[in-house]
Amino acid sequence: MLTTFRTWALDDTPTSRRQAAWGRRYRIWLALRRNPLAMIGLAIVIFFGGLAILAPLLAPWDPAAQDLAHRLARPSAAHWLGTDELGRDILSRILYGGRVTLGMVISIVIVVAPVGLVVGCVAGYFGGWIDTVLMRVTDVFLSFPRLILALALVAALHPGVQSAIVAIALTAWPPYARIARAETLTVRSSDFIAACRLAGASPRRVVFRHIMPLCVPSVIVRVTLDMSSIIITAASLGFLGMGAQPPSPEWGAMLAIAKRFMLQEWWVALSPAMAILLVSLAFNFLGDGLRDVLDPKQN
């Protein structure tokens, strides 16, 4: 099965568009597989993703169940990672917290990547005043540090997960627009685009069917590299009390509370800290590997 897929995908003379596309994907995968750091990153991402999805099955305790008799307990057989200030099981909270974090990250990326893609492609393809206006707007949002703008926006809306998503999304799209625009500029005047236009394709068709797909790989790389920064921003918001609110088991919010007793009960702080660290490190490893594979400038 795998070998037939392999020969089919690596065929030098693909007979269909689908075969060519899969061949390209498979070659990327082969190149990525040679990068040990990227593979470690991928493994951790899949691991944490699996933990988050399966949290209800895996968590030994209810993440909200309080047990004040056993508050701030050291790691033990019953509570692998110990308990927090209300006697809640930290392992279960970390598992459920992964759902909050990954949920936030996914919703942000789903909003941000397409918006950045469309803005960048439209600006790059049409040029002129459209380009100027769109890029000025992009510049304005780029001229704020991401966390500061997100903080101010969340404060203006209302602290919570939804506002954090909106705020981070508003601060995260400009780099994608920049990248998509740069990519568009390099292909805009190529012959195949001219051929499309001569064949009577409308500007919309040219942008959406012919230019945008070419911008997707670099945007994907950027998204992967951005993941860790989005996770960190989300956790920082939670830590500063502006993101997910307690009792939500979001990792940053957990840390904010654990900070109070970290000098004696350090394990309460250690687990969420390690979770944030591992996941964002994993995304960075993966993104770095992907860039090496996908970025044509490197080869």
Binding site: V140, F144, I148, A155, A156, L157, K259, A269, S280, N284
Partner: protein, 337 residues
Amino acid sequence: MIRRLKSLGSQFGSVLATLFGLSVVTFMIGRVMPVDPVIAAVGDNASQEVVAKARAAMGLDEPLIVQYWHYLTQVLHGDFGQSVLTHNEVASDIAHYFPATMELATYALIIATVIGVPLGIWAAVRQDSLTDQIIRVICLAGHSVPVFVLALLALIIFYAGLGIAPGPGRQGIIYQDMITPVTGFLTIDCLYAGDWDAFRDAVAHLVLPVSILSYFSLAYITRMTRAFMLDALRGEFIVAARAKGLSARKVVLNHAFPTIAVQLLTVLALTYAGLLEGAVVTETVFAWPGLGLYLTKALMNGDMNPVVGCTLLIGLIYVALNLLADILYRVFDPRVS
């Protein structure tokens, strides 16, 4: 010449446009509040009449565009309004807190540069070796660790565990308010006052937050230096220098490095801007009395004038540093026309 003027003009225009956008965004943030500022000022129990009067007094009954105009003229006069909570002028509050942040960011940048640039050059010269891989992992880790996680870990280890670092804050209690601020940089003020004990205390308090902040930017500086250096080492003039029999050290330091120096300067300018962001989180962990602590306190209380003031100021610094980076590029790099 005309082309040059034209490009300068368009750059000036783009900066103006960005500043305009900045003011609009901060204005909007200030207007969309969770708490009605009028109610916050007069209290829940005020009568309709009082509320209406206060609303008019605050200029909030006028159309949005007029309000924006008021906001803009105020800001241009350096007036960011008052804090609802303390009734202090936001502008003087910022003037009071900002030097502490600057001190943190400046020392962090200096240390990050001194370590990061050689590290990046080293990684580039030894491309793909074990050294390069280790440096790469160190840098990626720097990108991945949230500042507050590192800060908490550092406090646990060095303050609570080993007891060799002083606790949070900028000064020990006995030195509090002993030094008259001149520059706002505590270390310099101590030296100016000739108080060596206070100076040692200030430096000791700086060590942890500065190390953490500098690691954060070191990752970026090292990475960029490596990329620039790799690019420079591919140049034909490097092959020529090597062919002439120059030592590897001379090739790298005297021939390759000068070509990337300008690019590095622009990176440093941008890093400094990024440090301000890191400082906000670091300050909350270390209880460092700077802009970040001021900002987060205001955020907690929904006190929007300080929030808007700080956001605007940091945005302005960002724009200014970007502009500076651009100008440096144009002035010092003959390859940019």
